[in-house]
């Protein structure tokens, strides 16, 4: 067993895929912390579905299957989708959840229409486009990794640069506005970063599972700390750890798809945290209740 793991660690393909999954974990964990705190966890699900027509349009326009170009299309479309959701909520009585469900499913439908359309083209690149629906970590190339590294560095730098502003925006947007911050612009910037993080992730885990990558590490980290920086750091670590663990498992066990295994790993971390985290965890709460009851009992008995 140990030998298998060791030989795997030296394997080039494994290193690439593991590195990519770990990067995805870091990016989505750190950005997901803000999404979870701002109650926008499902935005990951919405944006990743809405981005599909962007991939197809980029391909139809350029006839190119390079990841950067397809991702650029996805990014524009994802941003447009997020914009449409917010616009519908602002200008009609439709609620956020309905707007999200509507926009993501309609745009996903448009994506399918365009994909089936592009299938008829002579140099049908369909096979390459479908990986954006399911995600295929195993097809990650070295250039994809460099792209992810570049995007990740920019994302994390901007988050660090605007740390105070984003923190304020997440916890008390009214206070931020009262202090004179332009909350509209900050909101836009943070949403843009989120969309960028989501789009970077979809080719690894696919559109459906991206929402778990954004939510689960942040939820897990939230249970261990009340400090935002620690939460974001922990979420990044949890995300990276499940990325590597998922890749390792799926390489050791035959026919185990990488994306879903990563999601199972990250959810297990979240479940463990919800149960066992000190102070907040479910078990700690049960323990505290029992202790209180015992104290109450002794207090009453000593009175009698």
């Amino acid at each position: 067993m140990m030998e298998a793991v060791l030989s795997l660690l030296g394997d080039y393909t494994f290193q690439i895929v593991a590195l990519g999954s770990a990067l995805l974990g870091v990016i989505s964990g750190a950005l997901g912390s803000f999404a979870v705190l701002r109650r926008q966890s499902l935005l990951g699900d919405g944006v990743s579905h809405a981005a599909l027509p962007g991939v197809a349009i980029a391909f139809l326009l350029t006839h190119d299957k390079k990841t950067e170009i397809l991702l650029l299309g996805a990014l524009l479309m994802g941003f447009l989708g997020a914009f449409a959701i917010l616009g519908i909520v602002r200008h009609s009585r439709v609620k956020f959840d309905s707007a999200l469900a509507l926009v993501m499913s309609v745009l996903f439908g448009l994506g399918l229409v365009l994909l089936t359309y592009s299938q008829k083209m002579p140099n049908a690149g369909q096979a390459g486009l479908k990986r954006f629906i399911y995600g295929q970590a195993s097809t990650l190339l070295q250039r994809d990794i460099f792209l992810m590294m570049a995007i990740g560095t920019v994302l994390l730098l901007v988050v660090i640069l605007f740390w105070k502003e984003f923190k304020l925006l997440s916890f008390d947007p009214e206070f931020a506005a009262a202090l004179g911050f332009n909350t509209g612009k900050l909101d836009l910037l943070l949403s843009f970063l989120l969309v960028l993080a989501i789009i970077t992730g979809i080719q690894t885990v696919g559109v459906v599972l991206m929402s778990a990558m954004l939510t689960a590490p942040a939820v897990a980290a939230r249970q261990w700390s009340n400090r935002l920086w620690l939460m974001a750091l922990l979420a990044a670590v949890f995300g990276a750890a499940s990325g590597v663990a998922g890749t390792l498992l799926s390489s050791l066990v035959p026919v185990l798809p990488t994306g879903p295994v990563i999601v199972v790993c990250v959810t297990l971390i979240a479940a463990f945290s919800l149960l066992f985290a000190p102070e907040r965890g479910v078990l700690h709460r049960v323990y505290r209740r029992l202790k209180n009851r015992a104290q109450f009992q002794t207090a009453r008995e000593s009175k009698i």
């Binding site: 979870v36 109650r39 926008q40 966890s41 499902l42 990951g44 699900d45 579905h49 519908i88 200008h91 009609s92 009585r93 439709v94 609620k95 959840d97 309905s98 707007a99 999200l100 469900a101 509507l102 993501m104 499913s105 309609v106 745009l107 996903f108 439908g109 448009l110 994506g111 399918l112 229409v113 365009l114 994909l115 089936t116 359309y117 008829k120 629906i133 399911y134 459906v208 599972l209 929402s211 778990a212 954004l214 939510t215 689960a216 942040a218 939820v219 939230r222 249970q223 026919v255 185990l256 994306g259 879903p260 295994v261 999601v263 199972v264 959810t267 979240a270 919800l274 965890g281 479910v282």
Partner: protein, 299 residues
């Protein structure tokens, strides 16, 4: 019946059947639950398939419906701990169940005719291949009867429990005071949503079922304030996008379900701008009229 007529008929029935329970999801602010359920029923189907080893067993539907209800229960239990918000709970629960389903399929169901493609994307064009044969006579595509039954069940149940559903949706407190449990109604509705999702996803795929369940009711929500109008209106709009979507897909030779979803979106956009009571244009006109009145008064 020609295949193209059969496909349109199924499209109309499926979208109307989806719109009925979807109306209550929209009103109860639970739209994203439809997204969660349409994905997790896959796990129910897979587990039931491992038990029965038969893709046509009715137990598959039971398994799927149970898994849909389990999804709702899990999400609510997580939310009730107050450790995470409801959207985070949905965002964790359904990808997990879906991921488990995909792992099971790719590991153990490789040879069975059960693949993620047909679940996630669906294909309406194939409905006329599967025939309903009674006493040796071909009486049309099977999907017409299964989706027809689905529409009938949805319509009858909603008609019978209309008052209960209405009160439980708009005023759960009042429902509880009046002596019927909002929780029971809630889970009943969720069972109906899961059943509908099972019935519809073969035709449309799980993501586009969301478009049928939420799209038309949201459009109807912009057109009326009356639940009695909203229900048939959603079903009608769903049917309309079914027919228009099919025609478009036929002309352009593209995915039928995708084209139906796009049509749902286009109809929504039209209502969003031009709804006689709640549209953007109407709002602008009203503001303008008010401005002129103020201006005239001043003069």
């Amino acid at each position: 019946m020609s295949p193209s007529f059969e496909i349109q008929l199924v499209a109309v029935i499926v979208s109307a059947a989806c719109a009925l329970p979807g109306t209550f999801l929209v009103l109860r602010k639970m739209s994203m639950m439809s997204d969660a359920i349409t994905h997790t029923i896959l796990l129910g189907i897979v587990l039931a398939f491992f038990l029965t080893r038969d893709l046509n067993s009715p137990l598959l539907i039971v398994g799927a419906a149970l898994m849909g209800v389990a999804t709702v229960w899990l999400t609510e239990t997580l939310t009730k701990t107050h450790l995470i918000s409801e959207d985070s709970a949905i965002g964790i629960v359904f990808p997990l169940l879906f991921a488990i389903a995909i792992i099971l399929i790719s590991r153990y169901a490789g040879k069975a005719h059960l693949d993620t493609d047909s679940v996630l994307l669906g294909e309406l064009a194939y409905v006329s291949f599967d025939r309903m044969v009674v006493f040796g006579v071909d009486i049309g595509a099977k999907a017409i009867y299964t989706s027809g039954a689905l529409l009938l069940v949805n319509a009858v149940l909603i008609a019978v429990f209309y008052k209960e559903l209405k009160i439980a949706s708009f005023d759960p407190m009042l429902a509880a005071v009046m002596g019927f449990s909002p929780t029971l109604i809630h889970y009943g509705l969720m069972t109906l949503v899961s059943l509908t999702a099972v019935g519809a996803f073969q035709a449309a795929g799980s993501v586009l079922v969301v478009a049928f369940m939420i799209g038309s009711p949201v459009t109807a929500y912009l057109l009326t304030d009356d639940l009695k109008v909203m229900l048939p209106l959603s079903a009608g709009l769903g049917a309309l996008s079914g027919v228009l979507g099919y025609q478009c897909a036929y002309v352009l030779d593209v995915s039928i379900a995708g084209s139906m979803a796009v049509m749902t979106g286009i109809i929504f956009v039209l209502a969003f701008f031009f709804s006689p009571t709640k549209g953007i244009v109407r709002g602008l006109l009203r503001r303008r009229a008010a401005l002129t009145r103020v201006h005239n008064n001043k003069a």
